[in-house]
Amino acid sequence: METIADFEVQYSQFLNPEGKPSSDIPELAKEPDALIGLYRAMTETRVFDTKAVNLQRTGKLGTYASSLGHEAAHVGIAAAMREDDVLAPSYRETGTMLYRGVRMEELLLYWGGDERGSDFADVKNDFPYCVPIATQCLHAAGAAMAFQLRGESRCAVSLNGDGGTSEGAFYEAMNVAGARNLPVIFIVINNKWAISLPIEEQTATKTLAQKAVAAGIPGIQVDGNDVIAVRHWVERALARARKGEGACLIETVTYRLSDHTTADDASRYRKKEDVEAAWKVEPLIRIRKYLTELGIWDEEKEKALLEDAADKVDIAVQKYLNTPKPPVESMFDYMYKELPEFLEEQREHAIRYADKNGGEHG
């Protein structure tokens, strides 16, 4: 027997749950403005999220997948990306999308049952929320292939959950990215749960980062509640990819503090204590503590930020609530670049019956 290959998985954290540096802090952590920017975005994400859940509870939004607890991962990723990079998110990475410039009202429209929510006004090339799990990993790989073929210095970033690592598409995407040295970063947001399935039953692996070994690309595990660590490692990975050094996998370990979606009741399958423990290490507290310790944050600034965020969210909610239904024919008008003849009759039929159908069903 001869050892012919060996692999290690590293873990990185810079800020511990108490907001204390736990290892050599990277340059980033020394830039007050950058740090405040991250904290601001995380807070806005949470305020937005809380509002979205409330809208659902009051019947003003459809089922919604909360990002509660994921703010460091979401924002850290987005902050590391360049504008012309391309994001392929799942259905939960609201924080990443907001930071990338997707408007709050757009996301509300989406969850409110309106396709126009995915027609981002300011973000032209990013993929919309992706519901069929792990399918987006391949879109990111394909986008990266487009950039590579055209010699562009752009990268694609794929996001999926721990549950998503069980889908074949996840491995297929990593494998082709490895084999073709594609500028794509795969990020697994390990929030410990896939609806009711805990990560221990999802896979026998000790880490999700090690799944990179199967594709011959580097994999690293990062504290996903530490926005500095997330941003740092995603930035490094992107720089590497941009230099032509290929893909990698980053596992960000966090916790889903909310129910799976507003349609779920997590108390059916997980212990209160576990959730309480997770709240102790959640991502906002530690960065706020760190900022406070640095002397660049205080109660007053906090209050102003929260008010600001609430205003921003309120404006978006108003825009959302004031948006009339899309016209009925819109379900036909974007199916093809030009409406094929055979759809014209169906389109007219739909228009003829439009809005006559309410309440008839069930």
Binding site: G62, T63, Y91, Y110, W111, G112, G113, D114, E115, Y129, V131, P132, I133, G163, G164, S166, E167, G168, A194, I195, S196, L197, E201, Q202, T203, T261, A263, D264, R268, Y269, K325, P326, V328, S330, M331, F332, M335, F342, L343, Q346, R347, H349, A350, Y353, A354, D355, K356, N357, G358, E360, H361, G362
Partner: protein, 325 residues
């Protein structure tokens, strides 16, 4: 005898078979402690243990593939796919293996499995959660496709599906999971597959439909009855293979056929029914066959999903037009 909803009946049927056939196992995403996202398996893991009611990792192709592996080795797996929009990774396994293994091995290996999935629109669900693509499976030789439309038929047909020696895709119209209750005796009695169920007898028009669309159809029929139109309503129930004799007999009597389904029109199951009648019942027809279906577009997000679905007025008008041919 208990009054139960359609989804209760689904649970009851599975519980009965778990109880009576040790080879039956349930597997799928969140079917265990969580009892399924629609609660179809609620309580079953507790009652029958984690071996018989297993949560799987998240991969539908895997769920189908291991079900086939189990079935060929003597088990009777019932696999749940959470929503029909996520059933597509199973297509390869279903068409290339589940529907073929008996034929490929001349009966040496067989595949008595059930692939269950809730389907259809109208519940304000998120994107990809409202699809009706039964036609894809209906085109696969060797695969049965069964859709119940009432608690009693859900119970009886699911029992039959589980006991069937061949693979069955069992699609549950989720919009009517809890719409109404019916007395269903928990007696383990299966209903026959491969036959239609005549829900209303009538003489003027034959209506063929299935799943949740039964409800709109019945409402339309009731409305028209007031105007003296007598409709025969056929619940297709087994979508593949189709019991065309019952349909042809009905058309022979009524001379008119309207098909109602939620799925996109083109190459939907309605096309097959129309084709069969145009082949074998042509001389009975007094006028054109009509289809009231979903449009050939992506199921819209929920602000417009009701406009996509066949509605009572769309059905009433189609029947009305048929009566004027």
């Amino acid at each position: 005898m208990a009054e139960v909803t359609l989804i209760d009946a689904v649970t009851m049927a599975m519980a009965w078979e778990l109880e009576h056939d040790p080879m039956v196992v349930i597997l799928g995403e969140d079917v265990g402690v969580n009892g399924g996202v629609f609660r179809a398996t609620a309580g079953l893991q507790k009652r029958f243990g984690v071996d018989r009611v297993q949560d799987t990792p998240l991969a539908e192709g895997m769920i189908a593939g291991i079900s086939i592996g189990m079935a060929t080795q003597g088990m009777r797996p019932i696999a749940e796919i959470q929503f029909m929009g996520f059933i597509y990774p199973t297509v390869d396994q279903m068409i290339n293996h589940a529907g073929r293994i008996r034929n490929r091995t001349r009966g040496r290996l067989t595949c008595p499995m059930v692939l269950r999935a809730p389907f259809g629109g109208g519940i304000h669900a998120p994107e990809h959660h409202s699809e009706s693509t039964e036609a894809l499976f209906a085109h696969m030789p060797g695969i049965r496709v069964v859709i119940p439309s009432s608690p009693a038929r859900a119970y009886g047909l699911l029992l039959a599906a589980i006991r069937d020696p061949d693979p069955v895709v069992f699609l549950e119209p989720k919009r009517i999971y809890r719409l109404n209750k019916q007395e269903v005796e928990d007696n383990g009695k299966a209903l026959p597959l491969d036959v239609c169920y005549i829900l209303r007898e009538g003489t003027d028009v034959t209506l063929v439909t299935w799943g949740a669309m039964i409800f709109e159809t019945i409402k339309a029929v009731d409305q028209l009855a007031r105007n003296g139109v007598s409709c025969e309503v056929i619940d297709l129930a087994t979508i593949s293979p189709i019991d065309y004799e019952t349909i042809l007999e009905s058309v022979e009597k009524t001379g008119r056929l309207v098909i109602v389904h939620e799925a996109a029109r083109s190459c939907g199951v309605g096309a097959e029914i129309a084709a069969i009648v145009a082949e074998k019942g042509m001389y009975d027809l007094k006028g054109p066959i009509r289809r009231v279906t979903g449009y050939d577009v992506v199921m819209p997000l929920f602000r417009r999903e009701m406009d996509y679905l066949p509605s009572v007025s769309k059905i009433v008008d189609a029947i009305g037009a048929a009566m004027h041919d």
